[in-house]
């Protein structure tokens, strides 16, 4: 259940609209955490090709592990509105990630219904962030 996680919601133009990293509490202030943040983005971005390919092959929203790069697994979840949730993780944690995706999906839908939120624009809501943090603690790092 431990290990680092990197979660990103990717919009329709391949633009990240929400990013968050989850660290196990004991490794929260890992010194190396800052150095490879761009790598997370690279890997997540790269996986989009495979997500786009695989989402047509499955009727499930949760696509499980779609890609692997070095020590990173890439899990994905595609919403009905074709928003792509990408999760980078070091350990397999299928159930946790699935739950996390489902919860985030629900939160995302609520957020998207806000008339002041434009689809595909970065999510800046602190409430959303808090929720994500909470789910991350609950299902991923906790």
């Amino acid at each position: 259940m431990t290990g680092n996680y990197y979660f990103v919601i990717v919009g329709h133009h391949d633009n990240p609209i929400f990013e968050m990293e989850f660290f196990p509490s004991n490794r929260a202030n890992d010194p190396k955490k800052d150095d490879h943040r761009h790598l997370n983005q690279f890997v997540a971005h790269e996986a989009l090709d495979l997500v786009d390919e695989q989402m047509w092959t499955s009727s499930n929203m949760y696509l499980k592990v779609v890609d692997k790069f070095n020590e990173w697994f890439v899990s994905a979840f595609v919403t009905a509105g074709r928003m792509r949730f990408i999760m980078l993780h070091e350990m397999k944690n299928e159930d946790g990630i699935k739950n996390f995706f489902t919860e985030i999906y629900e939160t995302y839908i609520k957020h998207a219904m806000n008339p002041f939120y434009e689809i595909n624009k970065p999510i800046t809501s602190p409430a959303f962030e808090k929720k994500a943090q909470l789910f991350g603690k609950k299902y991923l790092t906790g």
């Binding site: 990240p16 790598l39 690279f42």
Partner: protein, 1468 residues
Amino acid sequence: MAQHKQTAHEFIQSTFSPQVAVLCSNDAELLCQKNNLSFVQLVQPFSRLKTEAHIKDPNNVQHSVQHLRIGVVDMNNQIPPAAAAKKLMNDAVNNEQPQLSEGNRGNVITVGDYDLQLSSSTPWFEAYREVFLQTLPQSDHEFLKHCLASMLQTLSSSQQQQQSQFPNKLPLWFSPNILKYYVLLHDVVEAEASKAEAVYQSMKSSFGHQSCHLLQINSRSLTAVETMKLDTSLPDPWGQFLPKKIDIQEGVDYDTGGSSGGDDSIFPTQLDEGTNGNNIHIGDTNSNSDEGVDGLGTINNVVDHPLAMSNESPLQSPNMDYSSDYQGSSSSLNSIQSALSKSSSFGVTDKNKFPGHGMCLTASDQDRIRIFMHEFAVRALIPWAERQMRTLNDLLMSRTGIRKSLFGTARKLFGGNPSKSNQASSNATTVVYSKDAPELQMRRLADLAFLFQLYDFAYQTYHSAKRDFNNDNAWLHFAGTLEMASLAIFMLGNQSQRSYPDHYMESAITTYLQSCRNVPYSVRATLVSTEALKSRGKYKDAAMQFIKMMSEDSDLRSALLLEQAAHCFINMRNAMVRKYSFHMILAGHRFSKAGQRKHALRAYSQALQIYKGKGWSLAEDHINFTIGRQSHNLKQLENATAAFKHLLTEDSKQTPMQQNAFLREYLFVYRQLLVQEAEETGLQSNILPELPLPILDSNATKVLLGARPQPPQNEKMFATGVWFEQSESHTNKWKILEDLLVSSANGGSLPLIYKPTLQLYTDDTDNKYNPVGYVREPITIEFYLVNPLKVALTMTDVMLLWSFLPTISSMDKPQLITNEHMVTAKNNLSDEIVHGQTVKEIILQGNDRLAVQMTLAPQQMGELRIYGITYNLGSSATTFMAPSQGPSGPLGSTIAGPKASYVSTVYVRGKQKIEVQGPRLNNKKEEMAVKTYGPDRRLDLTIQEEMPLLQVSFLNFPRTLLCGEVHPVTLSFTNVGSSPMHKLMVASSNPKCFVLGTVLNKHNLGGVYKSSSVKDELNCVKCDTDNVGRVTLIDLPGGVLHPKGSFSIQLWIRGNDIGGNHEIDFLFYYESAQKSTKPRYRLLRHNVLVNTVESLSVRAVAQKACRHSTSNDTSNIGQMLISCEMENLSQQQSGRAHVQQIEVKQISCASKNWTIHSLTSTIKADVHIGSRELLQICLKAVNLSSNDNTTDGTTFTDLSFHGDKIVSSESPCRQFYERSNIKLKALDEETFQSSTPSQNIQSVENMDEFQSLNCAIELGISLIILWQAHIVDINGSERLCVGQHHVLVEKTDCIFTSYPYMLVPKESPPIKFIKEEVTNEEKKPAFEVLTQLVSYTLQYQTEVDNCFSKCRLCFVHVTVVLENLSEAEVSVLVDTSKAQLRLNDYLDAGVAVESPAGGFSWVGQTLKQLKLSPKETQNILLSVSFGKPGVYNINNLAVFVTYQHDSTEMTQQKQTKPCVITVRDAPS
């Protein structure tokens, strides 16, 4: 898209082509050198057969051989050692660069949202592949590269027969029995043909005519060549085959040391991905191999890329076997390299004599060479191959039969299945075959068949060989046959029944890699396999194979393969753009590690297309940073600067530290760029570069005409003027004041062309017109700097940039002058014209917004345009400086020097433009359709000739006043301009609070109020309250104030009646005495805040004087009793300024027709009021007799409590009284000019409509209370101050206070959406007025004695005196019958009445009607009868009055005092 020059088939065919070694005699070689070619090179263009050849396979089936290519190699040629090969490959890759300058550099493809520009080909990859295959060390397990034949050349002219002397190091021969072919070279020009023919004949006789050839070349002599040198139109068939000349310069600028070299140390190390131990674990497993690789002598510091593919199983010293052989061979590297690049180096020196090749060869010569090659191939090589195959085949057929039966079964029986399981570990136990082992023979046969395109046959043979090798655990051989078998199928193409066996190739590569640790061969297999896959459209598999070949040992190869993989991704049917970009990044990283900077840059730039602007900020930053660094390394400073610029974005996710590093790097590179540009152009360009930081909020720029107001000096306070912090509402206020001033200066109306003066130009003002500045007067600019970064920026030597177009009367065209210079030279011409200000240092904190004010003072007339700012941009001088940041680099000398803190960092001098945008236009249709913006000229100033400039100062201007306090202030005017001024006026938003006095001279200094001992009580002064307005004219002594002239006047300030903060605005207006100037007047603002403290509150009530009922005289009709109540509101507080005591000095009355008199006899009463004390004074008001009231003026009556009388009719007391009475509209409502005069008149009429009635109750007495207060200051010192309060007693019986009524904001009724019928209500005078139109008094005998025993009824006559108080005719109805009990107000009086109704009754006429003309007094006689003795109040008359004719509108008049009558029973 990576398109290769060759198709897959061509590529495989040319990769696996029959090799022929050439041994050339020195003479023959020299002959060839005449053409700048070696023999090998000479024949190279013709080595591919144009025609079809035929070959029979061992089964005697005829096959056609198409486009057979024969590889010709020099026999002396050696495979270079690994290190040299590495260098060669590096060079090859480095020399192939994409043509950056070309316009059609790439083709644009659109994938989804992405428009990508891709380079259409990757020639560097092909070059690498070529060199790689050339330098691939030959191995024993295959025979593809082994030479099949040797070609021996000799020269016809040389006498002695060339002995076949083989060089020491031989190429690997295919078999011991190779084909030997003898060629006789004949120079047509130099040698004799007959001799050649003779030699040829002898050769033929000794070697057989099949293996001899006479080649005639050089039909053109050298001299002929020189004459036709210029004719270059002939195609050069050699061009593409010869190694390109290596540009020495190019060769230098990349380094072989794995990672980028020393330059990089100047960069902060945070972004060096490799250095921190993230992925060390990969390196750890490889540490053994690294040792071996390091032995190569190249600085291969194993920097693990975090992006590096971690192969499933780590490689164990992949190329140990041959790398160790060539240890230390790098010294010989150069010689070998040159040997290879120039081929066998015979006449190196004259190589460059002629630029072209084959100069001496005519077209027929070329034909001859072609025929020669064809002859060689068809006559000699193919038959030889046929023979060879047949023998090999026979040999094998005989052997395999036995072998198969014998060994095969034996293995089956005893050996089990030794393969698969221990594949990986069985490396050491590779079977070593003898040279002519049957397995090798089979392989040899297969290779031969493959080389001569007998693919079907080759496949069969490979397939059977494969089984053998597999059985023998000969993995290398096994892999080789697998590879070739699958290639054979591929080459068969559609003819084969089998599908292309991917898995063969897969396992071949895996076996090469894992079992044999033979990386080069696995790479070769990958190269050919991917070609095959690509040609079959299996791009994904190809990509996977490329990626699989990524390893740590060769960055260059990894980079190239990754790039190819990336291209595979983009070429897929569903192009994988993002995979492409990612692999380009990985490739770029590897390129940079391999020292291939240009390629790294290219790869990163390619990838940036996909990441750009998508919001992957960290990734984008990484790419931009790398591009910046690589560009910098390649001295493409412009690109580097641009890339670094992109890093400095607003919402970057980088840490402040990182951003600081970025900033520093950006500045460093940018500065280098500037230095470089300066060097290139050779002269200091006067155009400063534009800087991106900090962000200039252009539209927030404000322009102020004038300088910063002077700060107050001691007690002198200067007019505040205009400064930047002004809210919008205030500008409106000033505008109204200006309107008032201008109209009063202009005789009551605004001039036709009038626009209010603007002194401060902001985004909100109308900037359609150019601001007008004046010579020698400063102009202040305020601009806003915004720092988007998280780190501080340092700006030094900030200056405004301007251009100036002087208006010169002379003929020559004025020249535009600017102050934009690279160097800040002293005593510039520009400094003479405009005095500018330089701000030494501005430190802009992270994410900060800062307003900066700077001034300019033009010294000439002209047009001044402020277009930007110039400054040195530096990062903040922080502690975490990069170690190499110091004085290194070319800039060290310029920035060194212990000046100040801000010069210690790297900085760049540049500018930023201020470009203001006008308001969005939205009036016309076209303007609405598009975004158009109006002009904004606030930064384009017109500088006009000098004007007078007024300076106003206030001496002793108080900050705090008591309410009502009058404070003298000296107001000084100075003309600091250089031309005279006149027509000085002042307007104020609050004219009630100040009074201007006369010009001060020495002897009228002193107290506020004038006092005199004259006991003249009455002072009739004409008070013209109409001229009390907002605008006041100030008389100038002499009419004109000359430059440097000054004068002072007295000003009294009175504290507002309401405690609190009050704003007082003064707007001074003056005109230049010179007529010519265009804006005729100038303005000066002063705004001051005065705090008032509560002091005295006065309440006054006027009541009609109580008249004694017996007195019959009417003299006291016009008398009033005024009771005046004064309260000291201030509280005593220690530690704060407070009022200790207020002493009422005098009460004055100002009224048109009233005077006051004291009621007390002791007039010198104690009138000190302490804190919270109340003083009541009763006064008598007496109406002035009509003869006194002749003038229209106001009479002032002074009632002094202390000796000297203050002349209240003098200034400033009178003026303040005047001001207290007037009612000014609020400034906002004060529309200048009666723009709608009809309305105004209407309202005035309405007011006057009932004036005749209203005067019935109006008094119009103003009490002026003059006082003196003792104030205790904070520090305990006492001071005296004087002041005055006003109470205007308007009506009787009403309490009036000095405290102005607060206007309660009216609540507007709820908005109704239904249209209501507006009922036009008739105007009526106030009810209060109607009930007091007529006053009546009863005159009667107050005490009546009646003998009730005699006369049961007592009659008393009562005279009712009716007085019409109004000035209108009224009709009065006196009704005694309707008299009700209206005694509620006088209950105590009513106690005496026993039975109110029955006590008495009016007798006689009960109803009387009469008319009263204005002010008329009439008497009515009534009778009242009493039945009993007692005390009666007989005032129960009902008096109805109407001013109209309609009697129904009558109003009952207010009852006055009770009228008491005492009826006594007198005994007769």
